[in-house]
Every structure is written in structure tokens, then in C-alpha cells.
């Protein structure tokens, strides 16, 4: 079933890609093939593979059960929030909270997670910013 859903997505994507390719504006500089041909070929390959997968699907993978699904969503959500807050609160604060949250997700106690997040954040800051001179996101406090 999973393979069939994935195959359908691929076919839909291929159709969208084919349509997207036909509306590419042509330029006045032109080579015999133009900018549309290659995308169309790839859309065709994608569609063909989609059909092949739909007709001969593999066995379903083991999808995570509910508790794990929620945990995965939390992890992805935490990463997105981290990125959104990075320019707002600066690298040190965002990273300490983000890394702490992730390690708490992976089974650290609250105290361990606080220390873990703090050490990861400061460790990266010292190595990459102070020693190697990389530019990290700056917050309102300058770090």
C-alpha cells in the first residue's frame, strides 16, 4: 500500500512537472533543444517509474506506531522552531534550548538535558566561533 501511495505521488509530481515544463517561458537566445526538453524527459522517467511501482509494489515497511510518530513530529517541530528563533534570540540561547530539548526527547532527564544543551551550545560556540572564526547567528545580546 505504501508503495502505491508513493507511486501515485510520483505520477502526480510527474504530471505537474510536465505541465510546469510546458509553461517555461522561452528566451530569445535559443538552442535547438531549448529549456523544456530535459525536464519533460525527466517527468516521463518519473511517470514511468511511478507506473512500474504501482503495478509491482514491494511489501510495506514498518511505519512507526503512534507514540513514535508523535515523537518524530516533536523532533521535526523542534528543528523548525530552532531555525525560526535562531536569528531572534541568537545562537547560544537557541542552540542550548534546541539541543537540550532533543536530548530530553532521547531519554535524558531534565537536569541532564539542561546540562547537555548548555555544553553542546557553548562547545560549538567556542570551537567554531572563537577558534575557527565561523559566523554564527547573532542575537540581541551579541551572541
Amino acid at each position: 500500500m505504501s508503495d502505491r501511495i508513493f507511486a501515485s505521488i510520483c505520477i502526480a509530481l510527474a504530471v505537474l512537472m510536465g505541465w510546469g515544463a510546458t509553461i517555461i517561458e522561452e528566451s530569445f537566445i535559443q538552442d535547438p533543444l531549448g529549456p523544456k526538453a530535459f525536464p519533460l524527459v525527466i517527468a516521463l522517467v518519473l511517470a514511468a517509474c511511478g507506473v512500474a511501482m504501482f503495478l509491482r509494489p514491494d511489501e510495506d515497511p514498518v511505519w512507526p506506531h503512534r507514540r513514535k510518530q508523535i515523537q518524530l513530529l516533536w523532533t521535526i517541530g523542534a528543528m523548525i522552531l530552532y531555525v525560526q528563533f535562531l536569528p531572534v534570540v541568537g545562537f547560544l540561547v537557541a542552540t542550548a534550548i534546541g539541543a537540550g530539548f532533543l536530548s530530553w526527547q532521547l531519554g535524558a532527564s531534565v537536569k541532564q538535558a539542561c546540562w547537555g544543551g548548555f555544553s553542546i551550545s557553548v562547545g560549538i560556540y567556542v570551537v567554531f566561533k572563537l577558534i575557527l572564526g565561523l559566523s554564527l547567528a547573532r542575537g540581541p545580546f551579541g551572541f
Binding site: 535547438p32 533543444l33 531549448g34 518519473l46 513514535k68 532521547l106 560549538i124 567554531f128 565561523l134 554564527l136
Partner: protein, 502 residues
């Protein structure tokens, strides 16, 4: 003779204090990355590329650092395979078959030492193979026109799924996804935007580093979160007593044949398109089992079963560099990541690289020799230190890996948009892995898409739109035939095996 002169030149590049220091650092970091469960050569190097790029190292030192990391990770991978039965990456899988039983029988130190020496032997002779074979291949590559290059790229994609894939449609879908993503951005020939959804961020296209780090590193973390606490995957390990860390002479003598055979087979497997290190270690182990398994000792901790796949795996890693450097077409995941590294440093591999930037090529080869010797010296006496690293709990390690990935990508552009794209690729990578769609063709599509289209359109411009120009030369016809056979053969072989099994 020319080759030897060039190699000597390369050593003069690599043997500066700065470059030696970088090689040492790279070997050390690489071994750590390889030894840590959940990190392997491909995702380790993938995380480091943006960092090295942001720090602003010049091309040759950066190349030396990253290839040392790559070789180091190949060495380090065997530590977790042997002690924990957790291969760091696919090629290390075969090492667990006899390595882990050997450690259980009370010879973990010997197993590590034998595998270290086998790695050295495999990598050392494969580097010589690279020195001798790559210039020959360059001669051939100079005959390639745009049509032949287009056929060659097709060949690379067709064979990539190769013997390891169960479903060729999935390998092809992966390539199409990668090529499709590579299309996003302004068309290089005519300057019109394609698939940009009128979003300014997409005009430059998707940076392949963002995609690679997302696909390899972020998806690895998601897989880890998923498996965490269910008994699969690594949640840290207890300390292991190593015992003696030098192998007895008798064991070296016993395994020397296995190392030789493994090296030769591994190198050949590495040079062939689409095979790479996984096949190298697999063939090396299978043949060794056929040759030496007289007393049915394989799978129960036979040192020859450790030596053969390790030699094969490292020889294949060296062999895979031949097509990557000479043709610009990588055959495996890790060489794809190395290609990404070269492209980031603004070096286009291919026949012209040998004439235009000989210092890069031969500096790299010299760095391989030096790094290899360093790794042997580092790995035999210091293996205990690396083993201790295995006890770092994953609950701290994984968040650290995520954050370092973010730092690297942020360092390239300073844009949070790229970070969001990276998370997107992480989720995509996780889903594809669940569906058993290989990730390497996606990466290769991203890396080669622009080149492939450019060559196709150039060929069409030369022939004034005549499609038959793609199959005009015997060389092109040969490449097309190889591509078709390479794609169809695994399907037939798979059917035959299933038929036989029933």
C-alpha cells in the same frame, strides 16, 4: 615516468607542515566519526564540507583534510562493526560477520588489529592502482564529446541501483527526483527561470550541500529517534576489554592471502561504475569464504573473514576514486559526497583536471598515501582511545550532530531559508529510506543534473537538433549498451534468484 614525476610533485605539495597537520587532524576526526555509531563516511564528510567551506581553506588543504576524514571514517567504521556488531555504513556490514564473533570469542584486540592492517593493505595498493589507472582512463576520456558524456551520465545512473537494489524502479525514481531538483533555478543556457515558483530563493537553485546534509545527516537523526528505545540501533555501549592490540605473526601470515585477494577484487569492484565499496567488501568476503572455508570456520570468528572484506572495502574506496577523478562520475555514495566537495571548492573533476590542476590531483593522491600511513600508526596503538568514544551516550551525541549540521549550512549563506530546506530534505530522506528508495541516486542527480543537460544540449546544438547524433560514435553506442545492460541485468538476475528460491 611522467606519472612518477607528477606523484613526486604531489608529495612536495602534501608534505608541508600545514598540510601534514591537516591530514593528521582529518585522520583523527575521521576515525572518531567512523567509530561513532550512526555516523559513517558519507554523512560525516557531508557535515564537514560546509564547515570547511565556511572556514575558507584553499582547495588543496581542504581536499587533504576531507579525504583524510573520508579514509579515517573507513578505518573507524570497523571499530563499531567488530565490537558492537553495528556497521557504521553499508560496506562495513561484511566485517561484522566474522569480526563480531571474533570479539565475542575473546579476541577483540586481534580482530581490530587485523582489520586495521587489512584496511591499510587494501587502501595502499588501491592508491597505487589509482596512480597507474587514472591517467590511462584520462586518455580515453579525452575522446569523449558531449554525446558520449551524456551517455556516460546515463550509464552512471542506470548502474547505480546495481546489484544491491531490489527494485530498479525505485533506483530510477531516486535519480529522477535528484535530476528534477537540480532543474530548479535559472537555466544556464538561456537564462530563463525554471520551477522557481516565483520565489527569489529558488533562482540560484537548491544548493546541493543543503540537500546532502539534509538527506544524510538530518534523516539519520530521524531514523535514530524512531529506533531509539526499541532495541535497534545504538544507545551507547558498555566498555569492552581489548586485550592485546597487536596480532601474532601466525595470524598475519594466515590472513595475508585473504588480504591480497580482497584488495584485488575490491579495487576492480570500485572502478566499475555503480558498484562501489559495498560490492567490494561483499565479493571479497564471498570469495574468501569459497577459497578458505575448509573447516567451516567462517561466520564464527575466522580472522580471514575479517581481513578479506576490510581489504576489499578499502581497496574499493580507492578504486572508486578512479572514475570519479578521471571522468567526474562517482560510483558510490561516499564518492558522490567527495564529488560534492570538489564542486564546492570549484574544481570540476574529469580529464581536464589532470592537465589543468595537476597539483590538486597529485596532491590528493599523495595525501591518500600519507593519510593511510598515519591511520595505520594511529589505529594500532591508539585504538583503545577510539573504543572509549563508543561509550558517549547517543542522547548527547545526536543533538550535537544536528546542531553542527545547522552551523555548517548556516555558515555558507547565513540564511535561515536554507536551514528550512535542509529540514525538508531530512524528512524526505527519512521517508525515502523507509520506502527503501536509495538516496545515492538522488544526490548524484543533484550533482550531475546540470552537467548532464548541458552536454545533451551541446550535442544537439552541434548536430543541429538531430537526435541520432547521440548514438553516432562507436564509443557512445558502447556506453548506451552498457547502460541498458546495467539497468536490465539486475532485474533479470533478481527474477532468476527468486525463481530458484521458490
Amino acid at each position: 615516468m611522467d606519472t612518477l614525476n607528477a606523484l613526486a610533485q604531489g608529495f612536495s605539495v602534501a608534505l608541508t607542515w600545514q598540510n601534514l597537520g591537516l591530514a593528521l587532524l582529518g585522520c583523527f576526526l575521521g576515525t572518531i566519526i567512523g567509530a561513532l555509531p550512526g555516523l559513517g563516511p558519507s554523512n560525516g564528510v557531508a557535515i564537514l564540507i560546509p564547515l570547511v567551506f565556511s572556514i575558507g581553506l584553499p582547495a588543496t588543504p581542504a581536499l587533504i583534510l576531507l579525504t583524510s576524514v573520508y579514509y579515517g571514517a573507513m578505518y573507524g567504521g570497523r571499530i563499531s562493526s567488530i565490537l558492537l556488531n553495528i556497521p557504521g555504513d553499508e560496506p562495513a556490514m561484511m566485517t561484522t560477520l566474522d569480526g563480531f564473533p571474533m570479539a565475542q570469542k575473546g579476541y577483540p584486540g586481534e580482530a581490530l588489529a587485523i582489520s586495521g592492517i587489512a584496511s591499510f593493505v587494501g587502501a595502499f595498493f588501491a592508491t597505487w592502482g589509482l596512480v597507474l589507472l587514472a591517467p590511462q582512463l584520462v586518455e580515453v576520456a579525452l575522446l569523449f564529446g558531449p554525446a558520449e558524456y551524456f551517455a556516460l551520465f546515463t550509464l552512471a545512473f542506470a548502474t547505480l541501483g546495481g546489484l544491491s537494489s531490489k527494485n530498479q524502479a525505485k533506483a530510477a525514481v531516486a535519480a529522477a527526483i535528484g535530476l528534477g531538483i537540480a532543474l530548479i533555478g535559472v537555466d544556464g543556457q538561456t537564462g530563463v527561470p525554471r520551477f522557481t515558483f516565483d520565489n527569489m530563493h529558488f533562482y540560484d537553485g537548491i544548493d546541493f550541500l543543503v540537500a546532502i546534509v539534509g538527506l544524510f545527516a538530518v534523516s539519520e537523526v530521524l531514523v535514530f529517534v524512531e529506533n531509539h528505545g526499541t532495541g535497534q540501533g545504538a544507545d551507547g555501549a558498555k566498555t569492552v576489554k581489548l586485550g592485546r592490540i597487536t596480532p601474532p605473526w601466525s595470524m598475519l601470515k594466515q590472513t595475508s592471502g585473504a588480504m591480497g585477494r580482497g584488495t584485488l577484487l575490491g579495487f576492480i569492484a570500485g572502478v566499475l561504475p555503480g558498484a562501489g565499496a559495498s560490492l567490494g567488501s561483499f565479493i571479497a568476503y564471498s570469495l574468501e569464504k569459497k577459497v578458505s572455508n575448509k573447516d567451516d570456520t567462517f561466520g564464527k570468528g575466522d580472522p580471514r573473514g575479517v581481513a578479506a572484506p576490510e581489504a576489499g572495502n578499502n581497496a574499493a574506496a580507492g578504486g572508486a576514486l578512479v572514475p570519479m577523478l578521471a571522468l567526474g562520475v562517482p560510483g558510490s555514495g561516499t564518492t558522490a559526497v567527495l564529488l560534492a566537495m570538489l564542486l564546492t571548492l570549484d574544481i570540476t573533476p574529469g580529464p581536464l583536471l589532470f592537465t589543468k590542476n595537476p597539483d590538486v590531483v597529485w596532491g590528493l593522491v599523495a595525501a591518500l598515501f600519507i593519510g593511510n600511513a598515519m591511520l595505520l600508526a594511529m589505529n594500532i596503538p591508539m585504538v583503545g582511545l577510539f573504543v572509549r568514544l563508543l561509550t558517549i551516550p547517543a542522547k548527547y551525541l545526536m543533538p550535537g550532530v544536528v546542531m553542527i549540521s545547522f552551523v555548517g549550512i548556516y555558515g555558507i549563506s547565513g540564511s535561515t531559508f536554507d536551514l528550512m530546506v535542509m529540514i525538508g530534505f531530512g524528512v524526505l530522506g527519512w521517508a525515502l529510506r523507509k520506502l527503501e528508495v536509495p538516496l545515492v541516486p538522488v544526490i548524484l542527480g543533484l550533482l550531475l543534473g546540470a552537467q548532464m543537460e548541458k552536454n545533451l544540449r551541446r550535442a544537439m546544438t552541434i548536430s543541429d537538433g538531430e537526435i541520432s547524433a547521440l548514438v553516432a560514435s562507436p564509443l557512445a553506442i558502447g556506453l548506451w549498451c552498457a547502460a541498458i545492460i546495467g539497468f536490465v541485468l539486475p532485474i533479470l538476475v533478481g527474477r532468476y534468484l527468486r525463481y530458484k528460491a521458490n
